[in-house]
C-alpha cells in the first residue's frame, strides 16, 4: 500500500527485545475480585491497569511487548525505520489516551491495538481521517465480566492455534491480507488464502462477539 521499496527496515534480524521488567511495580488491577479464578493474559492485565489506574509501569510493559512488533508490521509497508518509529510512538500514545475505550469483553488487547495502528497509520500517511464505525457505548457497569473476557481470550488462543497449523505459503498469504498488502480484489481472487481453515475459528469468534453485541446500546 505505501510504496517505498528501497527503504526497507533492515534491522529486523537483530535480536528480539524481550519485554523488559522495568520495575518491580505490579499491575494489580482488580486481580483480587476476579470471580472465575482463571487468569487473564499478561497483556490484558497490563491494559486494564493502564485503563483503570493509569499505571505507567504496566504501560511500559505494553510498550516493550507491542512497540517492536508494531515496528515490524509498519516496516513491512516499506517505511524507513525512523518514520516507522514515529508511527509506533503515535500508536502507543493513542493507546494511552484512548485506554478508557478498551473493553476486554469485546476485543483482545492485540486486536484493539491492531485496529488503532491501522487507523493511525492511514491518518498520518494519507493525511486524511479514516472513516471509522460509530463507537458502541461502553457497557453501563464498569465491572468487566470476567467470564466473557476469559472466553474471548480462549477464542483468540484457538484462533492462534489454527494459525499455527497453516502451511508457510498459506501463512504468508494470511499475513499479506491482514497486514494490508493485498487489495480486496486480490483477497477475493486468492485461492491460496486458507480462509476455510481460519473461517471456522473466525465463525466461532463471531458467534461469541455476536452474543456480546446483542442488546448493546448505541450512543
Amino acid at each position: 500500500m505505501f510504496e517505498a521499496p528501497d527503504a526497507l527496515c533492515d534491522d529486523s534480524l537483530e535480536a528480539p527485545v524481550a519485554p523488559a521488567r522495568v520495575s518491580e511495580g505490579t499491575s494489580s488491577c482488580r486481580e483480587s475480585d476476579r470471580v472465575t479464578g482463571e487468569a487473564y493474559s499478561e497483556t490484558t492485565v497490563w491494559m486494564l491497569a493502564v485503563r483503570d489506574q493509569r499505571d505507567k509501569v504496566a504501560f511500559g510493559r505494553l510498550f516493550d511487548h507491542f512497540a517492536p512488533r508494531l515496528k515490524g508490521v509498519i516496516c513491512r509497508s516499506g517505511l524507513p525505520p525512523a518514520q516507522a518509529e514515529d508511527i509506533v510512538q503515535d500508536v502507543m500514545l493513542t493507546v494511552w489516551r484512548k485506554a478508557h475505550m478498551f473493553d476486554p469483553g469485546r476485543a483482545q488487547v492485540s486486536a484493539w491495538i491492531y485496529q488503532i495502528a491501522r487507523n493511525r497509520q492511514i491518518d498520518i500517511l494519507r493525511k486524511e481521517k479514516r472513516p471509522v464505525p460509530e463507537e458502541l457505548k461502553p457497557v453501563e457497569d464498569t465491572e468487566d465480566d470476567a467470564s466473557q473476557v476469559v472466553a474471548l481470550e480462549q477464542e483468540t488462543q484457538a484462533l492462534r492455534a489454527a494459525l499455527k497449523t497453516l502451511k508457510p505459503a498459506q501463512r504468508d498469504m494470511v499475513e499479506r491480507a491482514y497486514l494490508g498488502e493485498l487489495t480486496h480484489a486480490e483477497i477475493k481472487a486468492e485461492t491460496g488464502l486458507p480462509l476455510g481453515t481460519i473461517k471456522s475459528r473466525i465463525r466461532l469468534g463471531l458467534e461469541k462477539l455476536r452474543h456480546e453485541l446483542k442488546g448493546t446500546e448505541r450512543k
Partner: protein, 211 residues
C-alpha cells in the same frame, strides 16, 4: 438494525481491517458497520486475527530513545477531538463526511440529486437522492460500486435493497435500480472508477458532474 439482508463481503471487511481500502469504500464499510451488528462482529473477528498476527510478529528492535520520548509525551494536554454523532438517517461516519451539516444537494435531472462527499483518483463517494418510483440512470461501471441505502429502498435485477443494505456491483453488472414508491430513496454510493452513465449525462460531461 434489523432487516438488513445484504452485507459487506469478507474481502472488503479484511481489506478495511487491514487498512487497504480506498477512503470511498471505507466510508461505506464504516457506515454499514455502524448500523449492522452482524458485520460489526465479523469485523471484530477479522481484527482478532489481525491482532493475533501482530502478536506473533518477530520483534524489530526500536531505538533506545523511543520509549523515553513516548513517556515524556504521556502527560501532554490532548486536543479535544471534534466528532459528529449520528443524525437522522445518517450514521456517524456519514455525518463526519458531511462535516456535521445537512447535505447540499445538486440536481442531476429528473428529480435525482446528488452530493459528492469525497472525490480523488482512487474513487469517489456520494449521496444520491432518488424520488420514489424513479429510476436511477442506467449505468455500467469499470470497477467496483458499493451502494448502501440510508432511506427508502430500491430494486434492481439482483433484488431489493432496504435501509442498511449494501449492493456490491462489480465489473460488468449493468443494472437499472428503481426507487420504491413512497419516500425518496437516499443512498451512499462509492466507486473506484468513473461511472459511465448511459442515459442523460453524456460521457463528455462526466468531468463536470464528477460522476
Amino acid at each position: 438494525m434489523t432487516g438488513i439482508t445484504h452485507h459487506i463481503p469478507d474481502e472488503l471487511l479484511i481489506a478495511y481491517a487491514a487498512g487497504n481500502l480506498t477512503k470511498a469504500f471505507s466510508l461505506v464499510v464504516a457506515a454499514h458497520v455502524s448500523m449492522c451488528d452482524e458485520c460489526r462482529a465479523r469485523l471484530g473477528a477479522h481484527e482478532a486475527l489481525g491482532g493475533a498476527l501482530l502478536d506473533d510478529m518477530p520483534a524489530t528492535e526500536v531505538s533506545s530513545g523511543l520509549k523515553g520520548r513516548l513517556f515524556d509525551a504521556l502527560d501532554d494536554p490532548v486536543a479535544i477531538e471534534q466528532r459528529h454523532d449520528r443524525a437522522g438517517i445518517f450514521p456517524a461516519p456519514v455525518m463526519e463526511a458531511l462535516g456535521g451539516l445537512p447535505p447540499k444537494w445538486k440536481p442531476l435531472g429528473l428529480g435525482v440529486r446528488q452530493m459528492i462527499l469525497d472525490h480523488d483518483r482512487s474513487g469517489s463517494v456520494r449521496l444520491l437522492y432518488i424520488p420514489g418510483g424513479q429510476g436511477v440512470p442506467d449505468h455500467g461501471h469499470n470497477g467496483l460500486e458499493l451502494t448502501m441505502v440510508l432511506q427508502g429502498a430500491f430494486r434492481d435485477e439482483t433484488g431489493r435493497f432496504g435501509v442498511g443494505d449494501v449492493e456490491v456491483a462489480d465489473g460488468d453488472l449493468e443494472h437499472e435500480p428503481i426507487a420504491e414508491d413512497g419516500p425518496a430513496c437516499i443512498c451512499l454510493a462509492a466507486t473506484d472508477a468513473s461511472l459511465r452513465f448511459r442515459s442523460f449525462v453524456p460521457r463528455l460531461l462526466q468531468p463536470i458532474f464528477r460522476i
